[in-house]
């Protein structure tokens, strides 16, 4: 194949991927009401609850450890820089703002991408290989509605919750550092933390977490649906899901932060 042909094939392939992802996103959105309790379809809500456990509860220890370490490291590094100017107390401001706006959502998304994005892709990829997805289609059952929608619904609920917990743990780690460094009491730390926190920042973080959750679910699922071949392809799809969703999360963070900044929301 010529160089031009290779470039063309690459561009077409990527456009097809983006098109597929967009199509899947809208199908996923339209399928969400059927996951709701009472008014949704039989079994979907229960499936969503199981997914909430898998995406959220099971990920809690890992997210707590990651957020605690990141919060403590951030406090140490900012204290190191700020102590030269005698402004160690600004550590609280840095930790609070960084976690509510950036680190909470991004760390949560990174952990969720590694745990759940790869799991979605492997689960659906295995279903493709064993013809379960084909079986659903031939039974006139929409795989997006049955397989993807409960995961999406669950992620939209638990990822913002995990983000809040992650931010809280990160900020609390800063409190531990300030206690060890400056003997600042926890109550005083959290008093300062509340002053540093703004509702705008919290909302910005939550909006990011919803966008990141959407990316993780849809990239994980599309990588699974696109599996062709055997078990090796399932493994590759899981790796691809993590890599692509992590890159997209960082890119989406860049876009959202820039847009918020331009709009003066930040």
């Amino acid at each position: 194949m010529s160089v031009l042909g290779s470039i063309g094939a690459g561009v077409i392939g990527r456009l097809a991927y983006v098109g597929g992802l967009t199509n899947q996103f809208f199908q996923g959105i339209s399928a969400l009401p059927r996951v709701l309790p009472f008014v949704g379809k039989h079994g979907r809500w229960q499936a969503a609850i199981r997914q909430m456990y898998a995406i959220g509860v099971a990920a809690l220890p890992m997210i707590a450890v990651v957020a605690a370490c990141a919060g403590f490291i951030l406090a140490i590094q900012s204290a190191y820089a700020l102590s030269r100017f005698g402004a160690v107390q600004l550590v609280i401001y840095i930790v609070v703002v960084a976690f509510t706006k950036e680190l909470g959502p991004v760390l949560t998304a990174t952990v969720a991408s590694g745990r759940s994005g790869s799991a979605f892709s492997a689960e659906i990829g295995t279903m493709v290989v064993t013809e379960e997805i084909d079986a659903l289609r031939t039974m006139a059952i929409d795989p997006i509605e049955l397989v993807l929608a409960p995961k999406y619904f669950a992620a939209m609920i638990v990822i913002p919750c995990l983000t809040v917990i992650s931010s809280f743990v990160g900020i609390a780690a800063g409190a531990v550092f300030m206690f060890l460094k400056a003997r600042m009491s926890f109550s005083m730390y959290f008093q300062y933390a509340m002053q540093a926190m703004s509702l705008h920042d919290v909302f910005a973080g939550l909006i990011k977490s919803l966008v990141f959750g959407t990316i993780i679910v849809h990239v994980g699922c599309i990588e699974g649906f696109r599996v062709a071949g055997g078990p090796e392809a399932v493994g590759n799809s899981a790796t691809s899901a993590v890599v692509k969703s992590t890159i997209l999360v960082i890119f989406a963070d860049f876009v959202i932060t820039t847009v918020f900044y331009m709009l003066g929301v930040d």
Binding site: K41, G43, T130, E131, R137, T138, M139, A140, I141, L146
Partner: protein, 269 residues
Amino acid sequence: MDEPIISIRDLTVSYGGRRVLNGVSLDIHRGEVIALLGASGSGKSTMLRHIIGLAKPDSGTIHIQGVDINQCSTRELMAIRRDLGVAFQGSALFSSMSVEENIRLPLRELTTLSDPVIEIMTFIKLASVGLSEAGKLMPPELSGGMKKRAAVARATALDPEVLIFDEPSAGLDPIVAAELDELILFLKRAFQMTVVIVTHEMASAFRVADRLAMLHMGSLIAVESKETFAASTDRRIRQFLDRKPQRITESESVKRRLRELISMTGATL
């Protein structure tokens, strides 16, 4: 003769520049059992995937109950699929669900039946394939034959007009394979279903089918009754029936590639 329930016209399919199906035309009539035969790679499974609407052809049409499945709306395709039951080669049972949950799934998703009725229907379907005691088992706990029968129970859950089997005997011992043949005949007798079987097991095909269709390198070379097919003098059919091995070094593609390699080295034959 009545209008065919499935009508395939000039079906042509290529993958990566390689022609897999080459203008295949076939009519399948209501209530008949037709076996689609052919060697590995002859295009049987590709043809099946197109019949059930899982892939779009390069050209040609497939009408099921008079509807062109490649031109119809998604809603129409869904309605047609409700009339098709497919038992996949690897059973394709949902591994996260028990056997009875597998059978309940289409009933719950596609009907408005109440839970007690669904329970009764599930039990009837399991009993019809001899698995009434295995409803609570998970797919990995089933033997190969039980998996195939469970797949049949799920495929027949909505009482489809057409039942499609992809390699029903593959990987089964002769006794279990014969039991599955009996099951197919029972389903045809009991429910007047049209049955399409994709297979290369000749004994099974002759036992259950009314007609046999043979694919050879993507082309349909025969659609005959069992008797006519068995008496065929066509070299390709005889090779298949008489289990004559193909000498790989005599195949045209091998000869062609060999000539290319030799010409690249500059040598002469």
